[in-house]
Amino acid sequence: MPHSVSPAGSSERKDEEMADVPAASAPEGGVKLEDMFDGDDDEEFPASSAQDVKMESSPVPAPAGPAPVPSGVDTDVMLMFYQRLFPFRYLFQWLNHGIVPTRDFGNREFALTLQNDAYLRYQSYPTADLFRKDILKMNPSRFEIGPVYSTNPRDRKTLRGGQMKPVSKELVFDIDMTDYDDIRTCCQKANICHKCWAFVTMAIKVIDTSLREDFGFDHILWVYSGRRGAHAWVCDPSARSLPDDRRRAIAGYLEILRGGSSSGKKVNLKRPLHPHVTRSLEQLKNHFAQTTLVDQDTFASTEQAEKLLSLLPDKSLNEALRRKWDSSPDRPSTSKWADIDALAKTGKSSTLKPATLRDAKQDIVLEYTYPRLDAEVSKKMIHLLKSPFVIHPGTGRVCVPIDPKKADEFDPLSVPTVMELLAEIDAYDAKYPAGTQEVEMPDMEGSAMNSDAKSTRKLQDYEKTRLKPYIDHFRSFIAGLLKEERVAKRERDDTAPAVKADPMEF
């Protein structure tokens, strides 16, 4: 029996499923307790708040009709989604880096969360067909993607300890709205609205630019995490094989906000600013003016205004500002921000240098807008991350890719939910009954696996829905990746013998 599904008993199941984890790879420092669980995702699916995507302040119309999202997605719906819509073939090509199945896919770890909340780690599949078959059989509520191992993860128990090692995985980044809770005023915890999604948009822009310009990566896939965040998958061959200390270096390079809840000022940059910071600041300036000062109106409350003052360097200036703001409690953030310069100019403080104030203001802009990454996710090769295109069990939304070039246009609240998509297929099929448009029957084998024969090709189910542009984006992303992969392979074949031709010692 290939899978051992344990009963749903919540604390029981983890014991059974994970009891062997440290034994399998602990001697090599492979899996430690810290790594087995996401940094802190205990709030990922708060049972009660699955539904409450906050819409009240949003000017954009809600997704058509009364929100059809059920709290938690039905198992039949989920199965239907896998059968008819999930792009197994493209996911395979993406992870396999080619058409012919290789170890890149075969030794890749998948971790399935089943409908009963059991968690199956170390699943792997030799081909796309077997992958699809197993997903249909297990019908997981979601699944995650881990690293490629040196051997097949399913064989781990037959190996001596420490023999199975992770060899490659995409460099990943995780941005989560909860990390912004202390600077967003519109929502808290798992909720998002258009106003605070702007933070994610900024983060995507800054990180994406840096990865491309500074590190020279080209193949970066951004994915909406289904509720209130985004993931990045850097798929360049050089990025996939980075060892952990290099990943840590990148995370450190990109991390500007340091310190936990009690460390006071979180941005303390040395001058002159590093070109990466200067560029980011340039990108973020306007966002600060719009999002922080206007949309969020962050400094409106006395408490937040006090926090702003604590970040400013000069006591007498702070006194003047405090007096001014106390006398007009409803003063909007934009005016408060302008007050800083205005009062500084009037010479309230003799000791304050303009440069010091400018630096402090730059630090503040960064503290309120610079991306807040969950750095632990990026630092470890073995970290698991939710696959693109799965359904977020809370919202029912599909984890669709985001085009970083059009990050501004992306609207998380209009991302299709699984129920909407299935309804769209039905609507399409009703409009073009079989025969008039070569619509295929919803059989299991056809939807994801059929060939690309152009003219007589049957329309695939996803093409009848709003999922199409997202899958098209994913396809073109894969095409670019495969092209580079082919070039790299040819180069490897050309240079390899030359390297080996060294004379032997004896």
């Binding site: 604390s11 440290p22 399998a24 602990a26 200390d245 460390s263 807040r372 032997m504």
Partner: protein, 501 residues
């Protein structure tokens, strides 16, 4: 498509590998002549030495490495480490520069010194390649030793040594340098004139340290590094090579299985490489006679070091701690002798907002795992992880947003730190001033010990006077559990002054 066999030999090479010839050929070893003081230890030694030399050289080097590691555990500054190490190096493992002798590198004394350095390194490689943990510690200590010597090296010799390494560094042309001069100046701290430096373009992966600190200009995967940052690059190179060859050594190690001359020596050596973390025994934190239960944690928390105290206060305030905070605190509680059942009870009561189901499914497993009640064989046999030492807490990643673990002396802003200290009852101005100073100099453990000495000054004075505690009992604290135990015992003594009488 037919996939080609990876083992296929390139046709041009076939003739050179004649396994018959190779098998019986007399090995021709490269004679070592040590032209440079420093050594990247690429070539293993091949000449013969006596067993006594084998052992003695290894022990001498081990002494140095152990001292280096101890300094790092005590979080000593580079300057302090320097004064500690220099006399030891002079005594056990001298390594003089070419200029110190009139004959230069040909001098017999220099040769012998370098030979000893070379051989002892490889002997210890054998001794410390067996387990991942030993390998990591060995590589760390060796890297620090190398860095130490590299910095002390004569600048001319250092250049000659670097030139001999053939590293893959591409010099930046003048045109390109002028084009990006501003970026170079802004990204390289402490630089005055861009044109004074020789710039190199290297793959960023070669200088992860610089990249992590954002101390180099980056463009399309290349880092622009000034000549003086060589240290960082050489260190990375040294560590990378050493780690790789340790890995190889560990695989070759079983060949020594039948040997009865070297194996005992090697085993003995690796056992003597004691570390602050492995020395920590379970009984260290336990306090006899103290009743440690979930309900008594609140009152005991006055004896906790600041890191745990702040976790406790945060927990009481928010009824929640994030993962790493929970882990750090759970392990500490385990260390002071809280049983697993009581610990689960403690967390259950502390997480007021969670239902039983949520608690059982999201938190309980981690607690049990930390105690070694569940998990793999290794975890269970080791009874979970050891409580974190100061070294571990200081060295781990900075707490992120909303996280509360770590060391307050290091990870809090000074103002928040002082606020926290005052909240815990430390208000002596002199002490607070000292703490500020220590933290400014990054001597976090000294700051912590200073606070301990101030809050327990009467008790310490007393035990010193009546001689019940020797100086060794009052050594610098480098473990949160030691802090607790000492604090608790001192206060108990004060409560029962007539115990000895």
């Amino acid at each position: 498509m037919i996939r080609q066999d990876a083992h296929r030999i390139d046709p041009k090479r076939r003739a050179t590998i004649d396994h018959k010839k190779r098998q019986f050929a007399v090995p021709i070893y490269k004679q070592q002549d040590y032209p440079h003081r420093l050594n990247l230890y690429d070539t293993p030694p091949t000449a013969e030495i006596t067993l006594e030399q084998f052992e003695q050289w290894a022990i001498d080097r081990l002494r140095i490495l152990a001292e280096i590691e101890a300094c790092s555990y005590r979080n000593k500054s580079p300057g302090e480490t320097d004064t500690q190490i220099t006399p030891l190096l002079q005594k056990y493992l001298p390594l003089s520069s070419n200029t110190s002798s009139s004959n230069g590198a040909a001098d017999l004394r220099l040769r012998n010194e370098r030979q000893k350095d070379h051989y002892s390194h490889f002997i210890l490689r054998l001794a410390f390649s067996a387990t991942e943990d030993l390998r990591r510690r060995f590589a760390r200590a060796e890297t620090m030793l190398f860095r130490f010597r590299f910095q002390k090296d004569d600048s001319r010799e250092r250049r000659a040594f670097i030139d001999s390494l053939n590293l893959d560094w591409e010099p930046v042309g003048e045109e390109e340098r002028n084009e990006i001069a501003e970026h170079l100046a802004n990204s390289t701290p402490g630089l005055h004139r861009v044109n004074d430096e020789t710039w190199y373009k290297v793959d960023w992966e070669k200088v992860p340290e610089l990249v992590e600190r954002r101390s180099a200009y980056m463009r399309r995967g290349k880092a622009y590094v000034p000549g003086r940052e060589q240290l960082s690059m050489i260190m990375a190179e040294f560590t990378a090579r050493l780690e790789r060859s340790l890995e190889l050594t560990s695989r070759a190690l079983p060949r020594l299985d039948e040997d009865d001359r070297l194996t005992p020596i090697l085993n003995h050596l690796s056992k003597n490489f004691g570390s602050a973390e492995s020395v920590y025994t379970e009984s260290e934190g336990h306090v006899d006679g103290a009743e440690i239960r979930a309900s008594s944690i609140d009152s005991l928390s006055q004896h906790f070091p600041l890191c745990m105290r702040s976790l406790h206060m945060n927990l009481r305030k928010n009824h929640h701690l994030k993962h790493f905070g929970r882990l750090q605190y759970t392990l500490f509680l385990k260390g002071i002798g809280l049983s697993l059942e009581e610990c689960i009870l403690f967390w259950r009561q502390s997480f007021k907002g969670k239902t039983d189901d949520e608690f059982n499914s999201q938190y309980k497993y981690n607690i049990r795992h930390a105690y070694g009640d569940v998990g793999g064989d290794v975890n269970r046999r080791g009874r979970g992880y050891p409580p974190y030492s100061c070294q571990k807490i200081l060295g781990d990643s900075n707490p992120g947003i909303g996280q509360t673990h770590g060391c307050p002396y290091r990870h809090y802003s000074v103002d928040n730190l002082v606020g926290l200290l005052q909240a815990t009852g430390v208000s002596d101005k002199e002490v607070l001033r000292g703490v500020r100073e220590d933290v400014g100099k990054q001597r976090y453990h000294i700051a912590c010990n200073r606070v301990f000495e101030s809050t327990h000054k009467n008790e310490i004075k007393k035990v010193k006077e009546d001689g019940t505690w020797s100086q060794a009992d009052l050594d610098t604290i480098v473990h949160p559990n030691t802090y607790f135990k000492r604090s608790y015992l001192l206060k108990q003594l004060a409560k029962a002054p007539s115990r000895d009488a």
